[in-house]
């Protein structure tokens, strides 16, 4: 024990970069040391493989244009589901800490909520990138295994890039939801209800110029996929890839910002 530690004046504040790196290391250890992480990662691969297999071996043709599915136009389809799971994983990055009381110990070790949240944002992004990459690999593998023709792969590079942008931002959005809702079951339920029900309802009732501003609608636009609720009007109103990425990014930033503001205001 160094009895002079307390007497040493804080003449130079602890550097933010050092604190953030330490917090990121801690978050990385936390992420890697629980069973949920390999489950989410495994789900990403499994979803990719399963969806491609189903589309290639069972469905075989696109129900909208009746053209046969190819690897080129299906290997990214699973990324929408990967995105959904990534959002859920992101919520749990925070809500599980609240649930188990470990947020308090993190804050006593590093009494800066923005640093802790900043570290979680970084880890969420890494997790999303990994899940997205594995989902795409799974999609390619499943497509090959199903015997689908390769098809047009000319857009594959940019498609992969935008899909990874989506899955990287997704857990950050989920983290923001978790910061706001603070309860695991409520946060996960909110995400699922929003993605699977609310956005479909809004697409059915609101003008396309409004519904395209929703995050999971923008996700569809970014991936070039469509949902059963889409109409020619909604499809025509889809933003460019940059626009869709910006929509999702804005939702993620807003959710994290609001959640951080709430966290700073509240006692831990």
């Amino acid at each position: 024990m160094n009895t002079t530690t307390l007497l040493r004046p804080p003449s130079s504040p602890s550097p933010i970069g050092r604190d953030l790196r330490a917090a990121i290391r801690s978050e990385w250890i936390k992420l890697g040391s629980i069973r949920a992480t390999p489950i989410f990662v495994g789900l990403s691969i499994a979803i990719g493989v399963a969806m491609s297999l189903i589309l290639g071996a069972i469905v075989k043709t696109d129900p909208y244009d009746h053209l046969p599915f190819t690897i080129g136009n299906t290997f990214l389809v699973s990324s929408w589901l990967t995105t959904l799971f990534a959002v859920v994983a992101g919520t749990l990055l925070f809500t599980s800490e609240v649930q188990h009381g470990t947020l308090a110990s993190a804050l006593t070790s590093r009494p800066s909520k923005p640093i802790i949240i900043g570290a979680k944002v970084c880890i969420a992004a890494v997790l999303g990138f990994v899940m997205g990459t594995l989902g795409i690999v799974g999609g390619l593998s499943g497509g090959l295994a199903s015997g689908m023709a390769t098809g047009d792969m000319s857009g594959a590079g940019s498609g992969v890039g935008w899909a990874l942008v989506l899955t990287t931002l997704a857990p950050v959005l989920g983290l923001g939801v978790g910061l706001i809702v603070r309860h695991s079951a409520a946060a996960v339920t909110s995400v699922l209800v929003w993605a699977l029900a609310v956005e479909n309802l809004v697409r059915g009732m609101a003008p396309a110029s409004v519904s395209r501003l929703l995050p999971f609608t923008a996700a569809n636009g970014l991936l070039g996929t469509r949902s059963a609720a889409d109409t020619p009007e909604t499809l025509a109103a889809v933003f460019s890839s940059v626009g869709n990425a910006a929509v999702i990014g804005c939702w993620a930033v807003a959710a994290v910002a609001i959640g951080t503001a709430l966290l700073i205001r509240q006692d831990s």
Binding site: N2, L107, T108, P111
Partner: protein
């Protein structure tokens, strides 16, 4: 020197801590006692920045907790022994704590050995008894080799060997110059090793004095009896 000055905290219309002031000196063990709901845990949470006081300040050597350059090296904190992810091993729990405080990972094995959990290090915390969780929580507090230990009811769940180990550890810590601030309902146990007492009731300070002075109030009675009398008017239990 730790200085708590005029701390006040209310949740809605309920004042949980009311103009609380006391000092903690180095090299001494201060027991923090009072009935349930007296504001002990809230006070400790305010001391380490987990709750924002409505008024008042807490300083550690002149700085508040958030200003400490390396809080974990200055203050070791145990507020809730259950605050652990059940799916994480004891070792990884401590590794995460060491990492966020920029502490060497070698400290993890050191503190696990210190608290007697080295053989359970790679077991999931979910399978730990309360006593094992308390030991792990104390291990976390010791990671930074701090100057101050703040412990909220650390003896809960410990068996007699564990309570003896805790008493010896805290006594040695204070002898080496460290400051110990420990809340406990085990008054008889506290009487064997505490130097000073801070007694609170209904969020207010009842007394802050050396243990000997408290015992001198009535030498014919136990510390427990004296404290129960001191706090009898303050023992009102209400839901949060």
């Amino acid at each position: 020197m730790i200085n708590v000055s005029h701390l006040t905290k209310s949740y809605g219309e309920r004042t949980v801590v009311d103009d609380l002031s006391f000092e903690l000196a180095g090299g001494r063990i201060t027991g923090f006692v009072g009935p349930n709901g007296a504001g002990k845990s809230t006070t400790m949470r305010m001391m380490v920045g987990l709750a924002r006081p409505d008024t008042g300040t807490v300083t550690f050597g002149g700085s508040n907790y958030a200003e400490l350059r390396d809080p974990a090296r200055a203050v070791g904190v145990v507020l809730d022994a259950r605050a652990m992810h059940p799916g994480r091993s004891a070792r990884n729990h401590l590794r995460a704590m060491a990492a966020i405080s920029s502490l060497p990972s070698a400290r993890v094995d050191s503190v696990l050995h210190l608290v007697g959990l080295e053989t359970a290090a790679d077991q999931r915390v979910g399978g730990f008894s309360l006593g094992m969780r308390q030991r792990l929580a104390i291990a976390g507090a010791l990671l930074g080799d701090p100057d101050v230990l703040m412990l909220d009811e650390p003896a809960n769940g410990l068996d007699p060997n564990g309570i003896r180990w805790l008493r010896t550890m805290l006594t040695d810590f204070a002898h080496a110059g460290g400051t110990v601030f420990v809340s406990s309902h085990f008054i008889a146990e506290l009487a064997t090793f505490a130097h000073d007492l801070v007694v609170v009731g209904n969020g207010r300070l009842i007394t802050a004095e050396p243990l000997i002075a408290t015992l001198d109030r009535d030498r014919s009675r136990s510390l427990e009896d004296i404290l129960v009398d001191l706090t009898s008017d303050a023992a009102r239990y209400t839901a949060a």
